[in-house]
Symmetry: C2
Subunit: 210 residues, 2 copies
C-alpha cells in the first residue's frame, strides 16, 4: 500500500465527491460486480467520466486506461483516503424525535461510524433509552468526550441551542460536527461542519419539474 | 424579467450547486448585505470563484465584471431558475420519530416548500397529530395527492418499505422524492430522487482529521 496516497491540496469539492463514489462502488460490489469504468460510474451519478478520472487521479494509480477500476481495490483505497478504514466514535447530542431517528438509523454500520453516546440537557430525557443508549446529561460532555476520545459529533437539538452546543463540543475536543439544525454555525479554523439541509435537495429537484 | 433565463442542458452538478449559492446569499442578505462577489462567495463555500462565475454564467447576466453581484436580484433570479418563486406542496410519508422530526423542522419556511399532509399505513398512527397535521391513511394516497396536486414527497419510512412507498408515490403522480431511508430507490426516467445520507457528510469531514 503506497504511503504517499494522501496527497495534499486536494480541493474540498473533490473530497466531497469521494463519499459519493464510495457509495456507488459499494452498491456495485453488493450487486456482485468486480470491475467498473469512469463511464459507468459517471452515468450512475450524473457526473462526467472525465471529472471522475480527474478526481481519482489526485490520489494516483486507481485505474489503468482501458481496463477500468477494480471495485474492491478502489473501495479500500477510498476508505483509506477518507480515513474510514477505522471506526470513529460519534457523540449524538439531542434525544428528541430527531435524536431517536438518528440513533436508530441503520445506514452507519460498516461505513466508518458508531454512535457511542447520546447526551441531552433535559432532565425528562436523561436516563431514558434512545435506541440502545441511555441518555447521559449534557453537563457530563467533557468527561464523556474524553472517555471515548471522540472527535466527531452530530447535533440534533433545536436551532436556538445549536451554536451553544457546538461551542461546548469544540471546547471538549470535537473537531467535526454534522448539524441537523437549520442554522449556520460559527466555528474556528480546524473545526469542520457539515449540514443536513433537506431543502437544498428539494430545490435541486424542482428545477426539473414543470 | 427575461423569459429565456432557464437555459437547457445545464449539467446537473451545476444545478446542484445553485441551492448552496442561494443559501449563502440568503445569509448575506440576513446580515444586511446588498452586494457580494464571486470571490467572497467562494471563500464562504470552499468553491473557486472561477467555478462560481462559470456556474452563474449559464443563466446569463447575474453580475458585471468588477461591480459584483446584487444579492437581492441574484436571490430572485436563482429562485426563479430553481422554480421556488412559488410554494410546492409536499407529502410526508411516515409518522415515526423521523416523520415527527421532519414535520417539525423549521427550515422549510420561505424556501419554497410546505408540508401539506402526513401519511402512514400504521393504524396506531393514523388519526394522531404529527406537528399540526393529522396522520392520514397511506391507503388514501392517490386521493390526497390528487387533491393537493402534489409533485414532491419526502419518504421517512423504514428501509424495507421505501421502494414500495416510492412506487405508489410515482403511480399517484409524484415526480420528486427526498428519501431519508438508507436504501437506493429504482425510479423511471422523469422521476427525481435525492437522498439524505448523513454518512456522506461525516466521511467528507474525517478526511481532514488526524
Amino acid at each position: 500500500m503506497p504511503s504517499n496516497i494522501i496527497s495534499s491540496n486536494i480541493p474540498d469539492i473533490v473530497i466531497g465527491r469521494l463519499p459519493i463514489y464510495l457509495r456507488a462502488l459499494t452498491r456495485l460490489a453488493q450487486e456482485g460486480r468486480e470491475v467498473t469504468s469512469s463511464h459507468e460510474l459517471g452515468q450512475r451519478l450524473g457526473i462526467s467520466s472525465a471529472q471522475i478520472r480527474k478526481d481519482l487521479s489526485h490520489f494516483g494509480g486507481f485505474g489503468k486506461q482501458g481496463t477500468g477500476y477494480q471495485i474492491g481495490y478502489l473501495i479500500d483505497q477510498l476508505k483509506q483516503v477518507l480515513k474510514i478504514d477505522r471506526e470513529w466514535e460519534v457523540a449524538l447530542i439531542g434525544a428528541g424525535d430527531l435524536g431517536h431517528a438518528v440513533a436508530n438509523y441503520r445506514g452507519f454500520s460498516d461505513r466508518g461510524f458508531r454512535i457511542c453516546c447520546v447526551l441531552d440537557s433535559d432532565p425528562q430525557k436523561i436516563g431514558h433509552h434512545v435506541g440502545k443508549h441511555v441518555v447521559q446529561p449534557f453537563a457530563d460532555l467533557e468527561k464523556v468526550i474524553a472517555e471515548y476520545d471522540i472527535k466527531v459529533a452530530m447535533i440534533a437539538v433545536p436551532a436556538q441551542n445549536a451554536q451553544e452546543v457546538a461551542d461546548q463540543l469544540i471546547k471538549a475536543g470535537v473537531r467535526a460536527m454534522l448539524n441537523y439544525a437549520p442554522i449556520s454555525l460559527n466555528v474556528p479554523q480546524g473545526v469542520y461542519v457539515q449540514y443536513i439541509d433537506p431543502v437544498v435537495h428539494l430545490q435541486r429537484m424542482t428545477y426539473y419539474l414543470d
